[in-house]
Subunit: 343 residues, 2 copies
C-alpha cells in the first residue's frame, strides 16, 4: 500500500499554540472495512475553529484528543470503496482531517459536482465558509436591500463571501480588514462600498469614527467574526433594531486582546437601548440548507459575481505553520493546503 | 382652582440619585386648552427606567430636563375636557408624570375599563409591567410548554407577571429574588417551581450552582431584568439554542456592581458556542399589542390565576424616597404611589 502522512495533536497548547503542539505520523493507507471507503485528500481547509478543538474545554464540539489526527474539512477522490453510496473516482467533501488518506463510513460526506467549479471551491465559496456566510446573512440576521452591513474579517474565507452576497442583495457593505492591501482587495474585488483598516486605526474610538464616516446612515447588520477592537468600534454605530450574527471571535482566541473587550454593562446597555438582537450560530446546525445555498451561489461563482481568493500552502507538512499564521491574521483569503494533485 | 403639587427634577445625579435631586412645586391646576383635558391622578407608577431619564445621556428616550416634572405612568380621572375623545369622569392611563393634575392632549393616553379590575392594576398586571412581561415571553423569546425559564427580579412588577404567565404556559419557572421573604412569595404565591435567593448566595458561582440544582435540564429562556451577578450565574446554565430577553439591568444602574460583570469575551463565547439569541426590547415599541395582551391577561387576573402584589406609598411627596428605595431593591411587588382617592 501507499504511504500515508497525518498530522496529530501532540500536546494541548498552554496559551498560544506552537508548532510543537503538532507531530507527523507516517503509516500505511488502510484498506476500507465493510461499509467504508478511502479518500485520497486533494485539498484541505484550515479554519480558526480548529484552535478551539485543541483545548480540552467544553464547546459545541468535542476536542481532538492528544495523539489523534487534527480535524479539517477536505476535498478528495475516493480511491477504494466497500460502501454502496460511494465508488472509486467520486469526488467528495467531508471532515477528512490533517491527512493524505482518510477512511470514512460516509457520515457527513457529500459528493460534489466536480465540473461545477475548481475543486478547492468546495472548501470555500461553495463549502463551509460559503454556507456560513449565507446562513449568517439570511437565516440568522435577515438582510434587506438598502440596509448597511459591516463585515469584519472582510477578506477572510467567510467574510469575503458575506461581503459579496450582501452586495449582491443590495446592501451598503462596509468591510473591516487588517492592512491596506486587504482593504483595497475588499473594495476593488469584493465590491465593498468602503473598507476600514483596523490596523491603521489606532484605537477602537478611531476605528469607530471611520466606520461612522463609511456608514452615514448607521449600521443595521453586523457580521461578527472577530470581537475585540472591531466590536467595540461597531457597537456604538448600530441602529435601533439592528442585528448581529455572531460567527466567530478570532481576536480573542488563544486569550489574546482581552484588554480590547469593552465592559459588559456597556454592551448590555447598548443591546437594551437599541433593541439589538445578537445571535450566535454554528454552521453545522444548518447543513440541511446546503441544497438551497448551492442552488443560489453556484451560478454566482460561475458568472463571476462571486469570486474566491485563496491563500494556498503546498504540502501537508507545512499545515501547522500555515495554521498558526492564519490565527495571527497572516492569511489573505481562504486558507488551503494542497495535499495532493487533482485526479 | 384647586392646588396642584408636582415633583420636578432639581438637578442631575452625580452617581447615585438622592432626594436632593428632586424638588416640589405648588401651583394651580390649569384649565385645559383647546383639544386638551385635565386628569386628576389617582395612582402613579414608580419604575427603574425613570433613573435613566434623570441623566443627560443618549438613550431610547429623551432625558427629563432639569426643572421639568419627572415622568411617570399614572391612572386618573378626567376632571375637565375640551377634547372630543375624552369626557369628565373617564378613567384613563398615560404618562401623566409626578403630579396631582396633568394636562394632556390625549397622546399615548388610553381609556381603561374601570370595572375590569382595581384601578391600580392598570399600572401593573394590566399595564406597562404586564405587557412588558407578556412581550418578553411571547414576542421576544417565544416560550413553549416544557421549557425551563429563569426570571430575575422575580417578585418585581415585571418579573412577577412573567413568572405567572410562564407558569400558566406550562414552563418550569425558576425565580431569582433577593431575600427569603421574596423567595417564599415567588414560590407560594407566584407559583414558581423554585426560587433562588441571590442575597443568600455568596458568589455568582454559588448562585449558579443553586440555579443548576433548580433547573436539572438546563435553562432554555432567561427573562433578564438585572444583569450583574445573576447574569453571571445564569449564563453558564443556558442550553443550546437558548434565548435571553434583555428587559433591564437594574443591578448596573447608577454605576453599581460593575465588578460583577463577567468579561465580554466569556459572554461572547457562550453566545457563540451555545447559539444563544440575546435580544433587547423596549415595551413602548409594542404598544400596538395592548388589545391582544389585555384580552389574554384580564380574564387571568379576574380568575385569580394571575395575582398582583403592590408596594404602596401614600402621597406624592413621599415618591422620591420610595423611588430611591426601589432602586436599591427595597420594594416588594409593583411600586405605586397613591396620589388621590378613587372617584
Amino acid at each position: 500500500m501507499t504511504d500515508r502522512t497525518s498530522i496529530l495533536l501532540a500536546s494541548r497548547p498552554e496559551g498560544a499554540a506552537t508548532e510543537n503542539n503538532f507531530r507527523t505520523r507516517q503509516d500505511e493507507v488502510p484498506e476500507p472495512g465493510t461499509g467504508e471507503f478511502v479518500v485520497r485528500v486533494i485539498w484541505m481547509s484550515l479554519d480558526p475553529y480548529m484552535r478551539g478543538r485543541m483545548d480540552d474545554a467544553e464547546s459545541y464540539a468535542d476536542p481532538v484528543e492528544v495523539g489523534d489526527v487534527m480535524e479539517a474539512g477536505g476535498v478528495g477522490e475516493v480511491v477504494a470503496s466497500n460502501h454502496d453510496g460511494f465508488a472509486a473516482g467520486d469526488i467528495v467533501t467531508g471532515q477528512f482531517g490533517w491527512t493524505t488518506h482518510a477512511v470514512s463510513d460516509g457520515a457527513m460526506v457529500r459528493k460534489v459536482d466536480a465540473g461545477a467549479a475548481p475543486l478547492s471551491a468546495h472548501l470555500g465559496v461553495l463549502g463551509m465558509p460559503g454556507i456560513t456566510a449565507w446562513t449568517g446573512l439570511n437565516t440568522i440576521m435577515g438582510i434587506e436591500a438598502g440596509q448597511t452591513i459591516v463585515v469584519s474579517a472582510a477578506t477572510g474565507a467567510v467574510g469575503g463571501v458575506a461581503c459579496q452576497l450582501a452586495k449582491a442583495a443590495g446592501l451598503r457593505v462596509i468591510g473591516v480588514a487588517g492592512g491596506a492591501e486587504k482593504c483595497a482587495y475588499a473594495v476593488d474585488t469584493l465590491g465593498c462600498d468602503a473598507c476600514v483598516d483596523h490596523r491603521a486605526a489606532g484605537s477602537a474610538k478611531d476605528l469607530s469614527r471611520e466606520i461612522a464616516e463609511a456608514a452615514p446612515d448607521g449600521v443595521d447588520r453586523y457580521f461578527e467574526n472577530v470581537g475585540g477592537k472591531t466590536l467595540a468600534a461597531v457597537l456604538p454605530r448600530m441602529n435601533v433594531s439592528g442585528r448581529i450574527a455572531l460567527c466567530g471571535m478570532v481576536a480573542w482566541y488563544q486569550g489574546r486582546n482581552m484588554d480590547e473587550a469593552i465592559p459588559l454593562p456597556q454592551v448590555w446597555g447598548t443591546i437594551l437601548k437599541k433593541r439589538l438582537r445578537v445571535q450566535g450560530f454554528i454552521v453545522s446546525d444548518h447543513f440541511d440548507d446546503f441544497p438551497a445555498f448551492l442552488k443560489e451561489v453556484t451560478p454566482m461563482l460561475r458568472e463571476g459575481s462571486v469570486v474566491a481568493k485563496e491563500d494556498i500552502t503546498e504540502d501537508l507538512e507545512n499545515a501547522p505553520k500555515a495554521f498558526l499564521d492564519m490565527l495571527k491574521g497572516g492569511n489573505f483569503g481562504k486558507t488551503l493546503v494542497r495535499v495532493g494533485p487533482d485526479p
